[in-house]
Symmetry: C2
Subunit: 383 residues, 2 copies
């Protein structure tokens, strides 16, 4: 036991000051809570919702009345069950009452967009060629695509979600997107002003991760690896996307993998994850391969590198799931298999016994559906 000693002032310094909470905020939280249960659980009565949420029947009734007035919830008739008591009036989210616009700007040469319903199903699909445009010009193409989709929607539109390549901040500014030659482009506010609807912009990999979380088979904390021209990742921890302090979370493409050199990358380093795993490099490797065994080896080598890069991340975050998204013919098979094996060989299996590594089954629409999930989450508090 020692006497109190001189220590430097222990008072912590500034942080984000958090915000006050008013009763109305609590109300909107509970409103979202009710909507969320209804969204997931399907047909339920007010009494069911009260039991599930822990709120009173009275309160639920009140919230539901508000949701019905807003057109978000509808009564769908009575429950036909041989139970005693007054039959329940079933409620459901007004799944066909609204539309969402989802945009994917991440592909090369073409912007994809769609009108989606509340459940994230594509209703109308559109594309817009970018014809090698860049900067403001290509931004105008995106805006026009949104405009066309808004015109094509046959229901009120909840909002517009956009998945963009590059670094995107929380206000929907694209801080840097080299392929489109965007820097500090206030995409969200531009589209919002033009269209007059709520707009949300996020990085494409983050959007994809959200899609997997909301509409895919994902269960808990997950990382989504997007393999395309480059390699990017999106992270969902505890149901919330991880953005990183400079909004650059998931920028894994230019991390060097392994300690044995590697090919030269456009960034000037050797052995970046992209040099092992990007689609162009994979295709080139396959084209140069002489036979099937050789092709297999190319894919397995890429998968091994992915496993090597993932091991520390999964260890540090104790993830449940790693999902890979990209061209199925390249990624599904030896590549994923090798990633799993490498990963298992390089981490403690007992901590990560439940980790699954798999391909996404959302296909090419993953970013558009993720963009829709952003709108659902941002506007309705539903995920």
């Amino acid at each position: 036991m020692s006497a109190p000693e001189a220590q430097r002032s222990a008072r912590p310094r500034a942080l984000r000051p958090s915000a006050k909470v008013l009763p109305e905020h609590a109300r909107s939280h509970n409103r979202s809570l009710v909507l969320q249960h209804l969204y997931r659980g399907g047909l339920q009565s007010r009494a069911d919702l009260a039991r599930e949420t822990g709120l009173t029947r009275v309160t639920v009734s009140d919230l539901v009345a508000e949701l019905i007035a807003d057109g978000l919830v509808v009564e769908t008739g009575q429950r036909e069950e041989g139970r005693p008591g007054k039959p329940a009036i079933l409620l459901d989210v007004n799944r066909d009452g609204h539309r969402i616009i989802g945009i994917d700007l991440s592909d090369t040469g073409v912007f994809r967009g769609a009108v989606l319903d509340i459940d994230g199903r594509l209703v109308t699909r559109m594309e817009a060629e970018t014809d090698g445009a860049a900067g403001d010009e290509v931004a105008a193409v995106a805006v026009q695509l949104v405009r066309d989709l808004v015109a094509a929607a046959d229901r009120p539109i909840l909002g517009v979600g956009i998945g963009s390549p590059g670094i995107v901040d929380l206000a929907g500014r694209v801080l840097s997107a080299p392929n489109l030659e965007w820097s500090d482009l206030a995409l969200q506010s531009i589209v919002e002003k033009t269209i007059g609807l709520p707009v949300l912009v996020a990085n494409d990999a983050n959007a994809a991760a959200l899609a997997e979380h909301s509409f895919g088979a994902a269960v808990g904390d997950l990382m989504l690896i997007r393999v395309g021209r480059g390699v990017g990742a999106g992270l969902i921890l505890g149901g919330m996307p991880v953005f990183g302090s400079r909004f650059a979370a998931g920028e894994l493409g230019h991390v060097v993998v392994g300690t044995d050199g590697g090919e030269l990358c456009v960034c000037g380093k050797h052995g970046c994850l992209e040099t092992w795993l990007s689609v162009p490099r994979l295709r080139a490797g396959l084209a140069a391969a002489s036979d099937d065994a050789d092709r297999d080896a190319v894919l397995r080598r890429a998968g091994e590198r992915l496993g090597i890069a993932l091991a520390p991340v999964v260890g540090a975050l104790n993830l449940d799931e790693v999902v890979i998204s990209g061209p199925v013919e390249l990624l599904d098979g030896p590549l994923t298999q090798a990633a799993i094996e490498t990963f298992r060989a390089r981490t403690m299996a007992e901590f990560h016994g439940r980790l699954t590594v798999r391909m996404s089954d959302l296909g090419q629409d993953i970013v558009m559906r993720g963009a829709a999930a952003m709108v659902l989450s941002g506007r309705l508090g539903v995920s």
Copy 2:
């Protein structure tokens, strides 16, 4: 544009159902908010707090009255300023009115504990030898240490924080701590029942990370690497600790680093981070070294491995800071320097320009102070 197509049901499955929010929860949030501002900002008047929090002077007055009644806040006289108007009554957290017990179970052979004040300064320090005990026996040593510290405290005790090695769940159960031969030990509830005070238990690396966040020089998202008998890490993202889905976040010690083999680890793999970086291995390496240059090389090699392991994690999370905690004579110097260099060589500097890698300056007390921070955060909502 294509017609609506058949897609598999898009409805997401079960997630954490979140919880309802009642007005009283909002109140306690605002109460914590006021306390937080006071804790960080020092002497302030009610009107100051109202301006900073956005709440009304009336509401702040009400909350402050409650905090004064609870003994957490005191009036410390009037402000002496040549300003017009009624002079302000200054408030401050009752910094000397309560104590916190902080416990560190992570060291080999000895448990450390301390009575701390609200600002995280050590007031009374104690130690308890474990004498090679294990299981329930060594748990009893910990309980006795807490009891002694409670008896030594000269003020009301806010709570007990414990940093334990191993995997600890959110309820303070130590799921697995091989060194102490604990598995599924409900440490928090055991101590709580014995002592009759609020108890919080967390992993030692997580506690250390919290200490760095609360009392150290840390600014934003950070990862704390704890180098001792093994290697562990704690993560703070957005001010919140990351636990991982199986509560095993930060278990980096047994991730294989590099692609060029490495020494055999106790876990059976070759080249785990622990085989490069643990204190025993470092000391052995230094002892075997012939001259200073050789010793430097040993430390640099270890630092390089740390950098290799960190690169994907920092890339994936876009961290602000990596803090290293452990024996200064080993870690501070060539090792840290090599880690920084390796790291910079393996990632995109432009994304991580603001990343800093440094030693913690909280020394040996880091876990105890982190344990105190857990109590501050859990009991007062202050961080």
